[in-house]
């Protein structure tokens, strides 16, 4: 346990020393907050009765979660494989699951800090609404973060190089970002796009946070989808991490 903690602390230091990661995880969502909160008219009818800046709060959080899970983790892990760092760990005393487990801890810490930075920025810029059900918001956020972190680890364990991870990560990130809640609200989308948006995993993260926050309905269905994603992605990365090279 002490060894795992030491591994997590070292990995956290390495993440913090990586400027590209910090830009994408901290600066990009903050810019999104500032832009999205201000582009819509306050009495735009597409926001289920909420203020646009209130409606987008959950989406900001979703952007952080998606940036960490789809870009930061896969690129980082795939570069470890590409450069032989994983091999170095394979001959160390750390069991195979130790590195992914440390990444879950590290990514959770980064997620929480990045979300805090975001909410402060959002509050200063537009003012944040009082959450209707704080516990629901926290559960939705943590479960959503865990789902995307697990997906990110599975992608990072499966992809051969940091470039392929960057390519696939971006390819997933932008549609998820636009359709998952940070783009136009579902009511403003045409039917086909709105149906696609419903199967994008990020949509479930954003709805799991948004519904308890703004009292827009029960998020149980979305929570169930997230729990299933955590399970599937965990099975995937555990399977990938214990295999021995051919």
């Amino acid at each position: 346990m002490r060894a795992l903690l030491r591994l997590a602390v070292t990995e956290l230091k390495l993440f913090v020393r990586e400027p590209m990661v910090l830009t994408f995880v901290f600066a990009f969502p903050v810019l999104t907050v500032l832009i999205l909160g201000g582009v819509f008219d306050e009495d735009d009818p597409n926001f289920e009765g909420a203020l646009p800046s209130d409606y987008y709060v959950a989406a900001y959080i979703g952007v952080v979660i998606a940036a960490i899970g789809l870009v930061m983790l896969p690129v980082h892990l795939a570069s470890y494989r590409e450069r032989g760092v994983l091999r170095r760990f394979d001959v160390s005393r750390y069991p195979r699951w130790a590195l992914p487990a440390a990444w879950i801890i590290v990514a959770m810490v980064i997620t929480i800090v990045a979300i805090a930075v975001l909410l402060v920025t959002g509050h200063l810029a537009y003012g944040l609404p009082e959450p209707d059900n704080l516990l629901g918001v926290v559960i939705g956020t943590l479960l959503g973060a865990l789902a995307f972190i697990s997906i990110g680890i599975a992608l990072g364990m499966a992809l051969p190089s940091s470039r392929s991870a960057q390519g696939l990560g971006m390819l997933l990130f932008f549609p998820f970002f636009l359709l998952g809640g940070a783009g136009p609200p579902p009511d403003a989308m045409g039917d086909p796009m709105s149906s696609i948006a419903n199967v994008v995993p990020l949509t479930h993260v954003v709805r799991s946070i948004q519904e308890p926050w703004l009292d827009l309905g029960s998020p149980t269905g979305h929570i169930a989808v997230l729990a299933a994603l955590v399970g599937l992605a965990t099975i995937a990365w555990v399977t990938l991490s214990v295999r021995t090279a051919g």
Binding site: A3, R6, L14, V85, R93, T244, A245
Partner: protein
């Protein structure tokens, strides 16, 4: 003497390519054992199987009495490894690396950094280290936690001559502490300088094994003396000297080839009246490199295929 590593009939296939073909050898406690061969001979695959990094298709392996296939995690505490093509994260610092892979005890980490002359580089990131410094760090990491066996794979690849000699000294120190060393290399001078015993691999097979002296005696008998003779010299008389097999002429240069018995008589014969010999007189004793070249290019073996021929340049 007890056996630290036993390998028998080890086989590993990549698709249709037989990378390791019925390999067997033993490594006894406290020795430096070399696995030699040109590039692509199957050396790295063999040690990767022993380290539990690859799953062989057949054969029997024991490292410290256990099978690396089933007891991988148990072995990792007893075996140290420096891998070919492995790295640390660029921004990881030297002291962080030692703490991360060690038992986390600062005092023992400090001692290790002192021993490997890394103490001054404590705060340097991995990316900023030179090739020799990185290899010293890898050796230090391989020796963390007091392993009983260490694997070094192409440890001096890409190092300058000074750094290589440094690393050689380091490996001798490791052995002096009683640790068994398995050294994979395609540098024959390195193997000759360090190894107690070696196995030579070619195209996935062990073609011969023994001490460097035994291999040299078996496969590289020829001693040569070369020089540019004075104008009046008659090279024909050399052929009758003891130990001489033949005398070749390459332009101005005379090359006398035979056993090491020929050295003294030939040198005496070329001594001029003023007791000075030819200034370019050169004596070449057979060495492990000659033995390896003879072994991997032996035309009587049906396996002397393109692989062996192609990689000869790697030896030179």
């Amino acid at each position: 003497m007890s056996m630290v590593i036993e390998v028998e009939g080890l086989t590993k296939r990549y698709g249709t390519h037989l990378a390791v073909d019925d390999v067997g050898f033993m490594v006894s406690e406290g020795e430096i054992f070399g696995i030699l061969g040109v590039n692509g001979a199957g050396k790295t695959t063999t040690v990767e199987c022993l380290q539990g990094l690859r799953r062989p298709d057949g054969g029997r392996m024991r490292v410290l009495g256990v099978d690396p296939r089933s007891a991988g995690s148990q072995l990792r505490a007893l075996v140290g490894s420096q891998l070919q093509a492995s790295a640390l994260p660029d921004r990881l610092r030297v002291d962080e690396a030692v703490l991360l892979f060690g038992d986390g005890d600062r005092n023992s980490a400090d001692r290790l950094l002192q021993t490997w002359r890394l103490a001054g580089l404590r705060r340097s990131s991995f990316a900023s280290l030179s090739g020799g410094q990185r290899q010293r760090l890898f050796i230090a990491l391989a020796l963390l936690n007091g392993p009983r066996v260490v694997f070094f794979d192409e440890l001096t690849q890409g190092l300058d001559p000074l750094a290589r000699v440094e690393v050689w000294d380091a490996i001798r120190e490791v052995r002096e502490r009683g640790t068994t060393v398995v050294l994979v290399t395609h540098f024959m001078d390195e193997a000759e300088a360090l190894c107690d015993r070696v196995a030579v691999m070619r195209a996935g097979r062990v073609v011969d094994a023994g001490t460097p002296a035994e291999l040299i005696a078996r496969h590289a008998r020829a001693t040569t003396v070369t020089f540019t003779p004075p104008v009046s010299f008659d090279p024909g008389a050399l052929a009758a000297l003891p130990g001489v097999d033949r005398v070749e002429r390459h332009g101005e240069l005379i090359r006398v080839i035979g056993t090491n018995q020929l050295i003294a008589p030939v040198c005496a014969a070329v001594l001029g009246d003023d007791q000075s010999g030819p200034p370019d007189l050169k004596v070449h004793h057979p060495d492990l490199e000659d033995a390896l070249i003879a072994l991997v290019s032996d035309p009587t073996d049906r396996r002397s295929d393109a692989a062996a021929g192609r990689t000869l340049e790697g030896v030179a």
